[in-house]
């Protein structure tokens, strides 16, 4: 490789390394702040979707689907709150964060989008709220939204996973809880 060809490669490489170093530095002090804010927002959303809850207890369950990352039970017995994270094939930013409340009969009683960075708004409150009162069978055939089909399908899939996770772990009425 001649010096003429080598120089551009070296310069571009050095710029990439320098930019990566700056990003690592900034990420070093912003990541903990972002993490703390995200956890606080998720915890606040638990109370929002399940207002009747007195105290939440985190459940350690085996074999949760990929979309379900935390499950909480209300010690007062009003139901469960699950933290979900999903993405569609067009998700370009953060994953879609969802907090959903399910009563012991397996019906959705509350839902909130905690993160949604897609370019197209599918009614951050209105569309998710249309799942309230539905059980696993009804969620599976719930309508999607035109223009945001992939995001609404991803949301529906995550909700189905949540209800399946509770059923598989015998946490709903009719199971061996």
């Amino acid at each position: 490789m001649t010096k003429k060809n080598l120089m551009p490669t070296v310069v571009l490489g050095i710029i990439c390394i320098a930019v990566a170093a700056v990003l690592a530095l900034v990420n070093g002090f912003t990541a903990p702040i972002i993490e703390t804010a995200t956890v606080a927002r998720q915890q606040a959303s638990l109370k929002e979707v399940l207002p009747a809850a007195t105290e939440f207890e985190k459940l350690e369950l085996d074999s949760l689907p990929e979309t379900v990352f935390e499950v909480y039970r209300d010690k007062g017995g009003s139901g469960y709150a699950l933290l979900l994270s999903t993405s569609s094939q067009y998700t370009s930013g953060d994953n879609m964060g969802i907090t959903v409340a399910v009563n012991p009969d397996g019906e959705i009683t509350g839902i909130k989008l905690t993160t949604y960075t897609e370019s197209k708004d599918f009614g951050k409150a209105a569309y998710p709220a249309s799942y309230i009162g539905e059980n696993a069978e009804e969620v599976a055939v719930h309508h999607t939204t035109a223009g945001v089909t992939y995001s609404s399908k991803a949301l529906r899939g995550a909700l189905s996973d949540a209800l399946k996770a509770l059923a598989d772990n015998n946490l709903l009425n009719g199971g061996n809880n």
């Binding site: 120089m7 310069v11 700056v22 900034v26 972002i34 930013g93």
Partner: protein, 242 residues
Amino acid sequence: MNCKKLGIILKGIITENPVLILVLGTCPTLAQTGSVISALGMGIAATLVLICSNAAISALRKIIPDTVRIPCYIVVIAGFVSVVQMLMHAYLPDLYDMMGVYLALIVVNCIILGRAEMFARKNPVFDSVLDGLGMGLGFLVALLLMATVREVLGNGSFAGMEIPFMQSVRIPILTQAPGGFLVFGILIAVMNKITEKQGGVKRKSFTCEGCPQAALCGKTSCTETTEVTANAGEERKDGENA
């Protein structure tokens, strides 16, 4: 600050406003002007990236080889956008959520790459910073102007605060995509009218500095072909007369 330096800033705000005169950065302009708050966020974020990337590219202009200048600019711009994104996510999470994917899309905003290619790589650091500031402020002013019209008339509110007497006369389509195009077109027409009256900005007076196609085009002005054709026509006419 002398007049020349001030002129660099004012050029970006008024005579070569990137949105209303050069019609660059149309995507974020249409997408982020539904509310004043998101327009302000986008304008400030883009201004910061413009200033920093112009400064960095100007400082590196003698080091970056011509053959890899575009990849180098993209890496630098993407780096600054990611920094702004991380800072906004950490300290302004509500605004970060509101801006969604458009924050990351600043990387491909043609105002930023255009200024890097046309100004920062040919001028010293301080002038490039002023150019970034002027263009950024021009972008911010245009966004705020458009967002104010769309939010006040379309939603009956300003920066999220309801205006009571506007609620009954609001025009909801202005907050939607068609309303965005409509307001954008009207603002460009108003800007053309104002600048035409003042006689300050004429299409002929444009340099190619703000045009991302300039490197491929090879002309010195957009009217060059027309003038050549017109001259050729006159010459032919003269010849016929003779």
